[in-house]
Amino acid sequence: MADWTEEVTQVAGSNLAIIKGGTGKPILVLHEELGHPGWLNWHAALAREHTLLIPIQPALGKSAKIDWLRNIHDLALWYSWAFREKDWFPIDVIGFSIGGWIAAEMATINARQFRRMVLVAPMGIKPPEGEIMDIFSITARTALSHSVYDHDATPEYAKLYGGERTPEQFEAFEDARTENTRLAWEPILHNPALPHFLEGVTGLPTHIIWGRQDAIVPVSAAEAYRQALRNTEVKVTIFDHCGHRPEIEKSNEFIKLVREFFA
């Protein structure tokens, strides 16, 4: 029995697949660089009180590729156009990894688009210490493996992307990696202008959530984000013994934090 539905809609001059589930005040969910990882515990928990709207990034899954988008900032502009056309604004937003970067870019375009913003280990700012892992020169499997700190302590790790090794999933990963390579190859998964533009964001309460042992985007970037967003209200939560996926590695705590923040 599906808790969610997927439909392809014509919007902003293209076709966009949107996964929708739950009831209540909507939350826009911007997925990570490998795509939408499937309907996990945290989706189900938030869906009890919220309608989750999960657009599938253009060129992934059933969403059409938009060839003229050339970088993540372009994609943020296109999302702004598409969601304005869908009349979703103002909306609460939660973005994961590259999706967090996209959310941050959208906030710099117009902070009023969002009510509240949760960024989970977002890419987009060059970390002051350490480097964003070059996920483009490792396989998807290796990147997945690095994304969780303690596999044994993370039961949902095995459920990510359905957990099965199918040709279809291989192709889906390669589509996602290809598109994000196209958009974020250089500079490597960040935008040097982003921290400057984030200074201009006001009136957008933001919660930054990170795992201290994040191997994909070093936790030092949390402080860089906090600094950049200094003209708006920012809260930072860092989980110990946690990697790049607090939503499954510290699932209960994560759900509680997000539920309270969006209450």
Binding site: T139, A140, R141, E168, T178
Partner: protein, 458 residues
């Protein structure tokens, strides 16, 4: 018949154990580079090429790879420029410049035109997409690989042939003032040749442009299949393809005795040989493959032979059109994976690598022997593929300069004359004797047979 001498210009002093530990040539730390040895090798390789011209090769073929002891030709155009001056008559065939890795293709147009002028029109440029690892090394966005290849190609031809100054506003390259002072010596531009490992997209692209296509040691049946594809596209374009449209690169090493030749032949497998060129994650950066090739790769993937996303080289070869010498790939790949899991020692890994040698010889992936024993094998290659151009790929691995020069001498003295006779007998002409794409094809008539799989079976 166009006979080319080719060497990867390997850095021959790298410890094999380190290659095996790294599970590939690409990515070996450059702390293993010794400047004295590097200096010596570059000069020896230039000497080899001059000698190759002296003993009768028609052409010197160069190639380009980055960040690897497999091939020191990272800046191929510099070597080509030197050859332009120190050789006299041999064509300088570049197979090729990895176009998508150059941020400034106008500079490539200038460099090649300079080489063509210095050599008095002996340059044959060739262009490649570059291996996956070249995209990583040069920070070239692999998702734009084919687009950038196509646009850089068009731009270079325009820079050579369109009167300047003019403006270029493409998708990836933008120039406000294209007016290179030095234009190629050959008119309208140097003849172009394209090498590949059997990507059907590239084969079709070549046929549409009447560029000769050269298979880089690719498996014979798959090569034959794609040459037929070339022929079909040629017919649609209204011309008849022939030997002038095709070239083939073959590992060949010759020695005074069979025992010595076997020793040199085995050096092709040093460190895992071509199968250990780069690890899968570097071979296949995201977007490097076309969507179709990714689909083929996904289909060939099966549980237990490559795992979730650990693409095996064997699978990759199949997905790319069964282009790679499968035996070498399979052995190198399974050894790499088992090494990664700590299941084999370095010594065991080496044994596994060299166990592949007899099969590689039987499958003609490596031809090593005395002149007497290699000539019939080369005849088979010529009968099966009927190429107008044949490249002789010198030994890899820790082979001495003396042994390499002996191989060149014996090739020149005994093998090249015999190959020329065979080519004459088979009616093989090269692209300089007969310009590719000049023989019209009448729709509905029988096409010339391009390959002979019967010869392979025989």
């Amino acid at each position: 018949m166009n006979l080319m001498y080719f060497t990867e210009r390997p850095y021959r002093y790298v410890p094999e154990d380190e290659l095996i530990k790294n599970r590939a040539y690409f990515g070996l730390p450059n702390t293993f580079f010794d400047r004295e040895k590097g200096s010596q090798l570059y000069n020896e390789y230039l000497d080899e090429m001059v000698y190759a011209e002296e003993v009768g090769f028609d052409a010197i073929m160069l190639n380009e790879h980055h960040g690897t002891p497999f091939c020191m030709g990272a800046v191929m155009n510099v070597e080509a420029a030197i050859l332009a001056r120190i050789t006299k008559k041999a064509r300088i065939i570049l197979l090729g410049n990895p176009l998508p890795t150059f941020k400034n293709p106008l500079r490539v147009a200038e460099e090649l035109a300079t080489i063509d002028c210095i050599s008095h029109g002996r340059l044959v440029p060739g262009w490649v997409r570059g291996a996956g690892s070249e995209q990583i090394f040069n920070n070239a966005n692999p998702a734009y690989n084919r687009e950038m290849f196509n646009e850089a190609h068009d731009l270079i031809l325009a820079a050579w042939t369109r009167p300047g100054p003019f403006r270029w506003e493409g998708k990836h390259f933008h120039y406000r003032f294209i007016n290179p002072w030095v234009r190629p010596y050959q008119k309208p531009h140097p003849p172009i040749m394209i090498p590949g490992v059997l990507s059907p997209e590239t084969v079709v692209w070549c046929a549409e442009r009447r560029y000769p296509y050269l298979g880089l040691g690719t498996a014979l049946p798959a090569t034959a299949e794609l040459w037929n594809l070339y022929g079909e596209v040629a017919a649609k374009q209204g011309y008849e393809a022939g030997s002038e449209n095709f070239g083939y690169l073959q590992h060949v090493v010759v020695a005074e005795t069979e025992a010595k030749a076997e020793e040199l032949g085995k050096a092709h497998l040093f460190g895992g040989g071509q199968g250990a060129f780069s690890r899968p994650e570097h071979t296949l950066p995201p977007g490097y493959n076309s969507k179709e090739a990714t689909k083929r790769l996904a289909r060939t993937m099966t549980a237990g032979s490559g795992g979730f996303l650990g693409v095996s080289s064997e699978q990759l070869g199949r997905a790319q059109g069964a282009g790679e010498p499968e035996n070498l790939q399979r052995v190198a790949d399974s050894t790499r994976r088992r090494m990664a899991r700590g299941e084999v020692t370095i010594e065991e890994a080496k044994q596994a690598i060299y166990r592949a040698y007899p099969k590689a010889v039987a499958g003609l992936q490596i031809i090593a022997g005395t002149p007497k024993s290699v000539i019939p094998k080369l005849r088979t290659i010529l009968e099966v593929l009927r190429p107008g151009t044949l490249g002789f790929f010198q030994s890899q691995g820790p082979v001495s300069f003396e042994d390499r020069m002996t191989s060149i001498r014996l090739l020149g003295q005994e093998v090249l004359p015999a190959v020329r006779e065979i080519a004459k007998e088979l009616g093989l002409v090269d692209p300089f004797e007969r310009q590719p794409g000049q023989r019209p094809y009448t729709p509905g008539t029988a096409r010339t047979q391009l390959v002979s799989l019967e010869a392979l079976r025989a």
